[in-house]
Symmetry: C2
Subunit: 136 residues, 2 copies
DNA sequence: CGTGTGTATTATGTGATATAATACACATGT
DNA sequence: ACATGTGTATTATATCACATAATACACACG
C-alpha cells in the first residue's frame, strides 16, 4: 500500500484526493471527469473558477487551467471569457462519455488479467471475492 | 486508440511490446513479471543477460539493469555475479505474487468504476459485453 | 470602472528517464 | 593464466514533463 501523503481537500460540493504518485493536473482532470460522469455537476453548472480551485487545492492556477482545458477538449465543458467554465455536455453526451471511459477501464483490466494468465473463470472469481469484501 | 509507434521485439522465448507512453524500464519490468507469473520462466531458468536484452530491445543496458533490479526486489529473481540472473521464486511464491498483482488490478478497476457511479450490476454487464466480443 | 473570469507569456526549478562511455568484480571454460 | 561473459557502479550529458511564480492581457458583468 502506497500512502505518500494523500491530501484530501474540499471545494464547493466536491472533494479531491491528491498525492504525489501522479501528475496533479491529471488527478484533478480525472476526478472532475468522474464528477461530471456521475451527474454531480449537471448541465449548465458553473464549476469553481481556476483561482478558487487553485487556492482550495493549494496548487498553482496554471495547473488547474491545464486540467480545465483538457475537460473542454473532452467536450464536457465550455469556457466563456470573463464568466467562467460551465458544463455544457447534455446528459446523453455525458453518459456516452461515461460509458467510453468505463469500457476502456474494462479493456485495460481484462488485458492485464489475461497477460497474467487468468481466464474468465478466474476473473469472475476474483471479482466475487472483492464483491464480498469491499463496499458498494 | 493510441498508437505512438509500438515496437514489438523478440528475445528468446519472450516477446516485448515497447512504446513511449510509459518509462521503458517499467514496461520491461511489467512484462517480465507477467512472464514469470504465467510460468513461462520456470524455477531455475536463466533470463536473458542484460546486454543481450539491451541489444534485442534496442535499449541501453542500464535501462534493462534497472528493470532486473526491481525484479530482484520483488523476490522473483536472484543475481549471481559472473553468471546471470535466474528465477529463484518457487511456484508457490510465484503464484502468491501473481495473485497479489491480480487483486491490486481488481481493486483499482472496481474503485475506478465506482468512482464513475457504476454498481456491481453495471460492472457485470460491461464485463459480459467484453466477454462476448474480446478473445480468450 | 472595478472586479472576477479564463488565458498567455516568460522564467525558473526539479525530478525522472534514458543514453553513453568506462571501469570494476566475479564466474566459467579453455 | 587468460579470454569471455556475467551483473554492477560511476560519471557525464541530455531531454522532457511537471509545477511554480510573477505578470500581463482579453473579456463580461454590475
Amino acid at each position: 500500500m502506497r500512502d505518500d501523503a494523500v491530501h484530501e481537500r474540499k471545494v464547493g460540493p466536491l472533494t479531491f484526493r491528491l498525492d504525489l504518485s501522479q501528475p496533479l493536473y491529471e488527478q484533478i482532470l480525472e476526478q472532475m471527469r468522474a464528477a461530471i460522469a456521475r451527474g454531480e455537476l449537471p448541465l449548465g453548472e458553473k464549476i469553481p473558477s481556476v483561482r478558487e480551485m487553485a487556492q482550495a487545492l493549494r496548487v498553482n492556477p496554471n495547473t488547474v487551467s491545464h486540467a480545465y482545458q483538457e475537460l473542454e477538449r473532452d467536450g464536457l465543458t465550455e469556457t466563456r471569457r470573463g464568466q467562467g467554465t460551465f458544463v455544457t455536455a447534455e446528459p446523453a453526451r455525458v453518459d456516452q462519455f461515461r460509458t467510453a471511459i468505463a469500457e476502456q477501464a474494462v479493456n485495460e483490466f481484462v488485458d492485464r488479467m489475461q497477460a497474467l494468465g487468468f481466464g474468465w473463470n478466474d476473473i469472475d472469481r476474483l471479482l466475487d471475492e472483492r464483491k464480498a469484501k469491499g463496499g458498494a
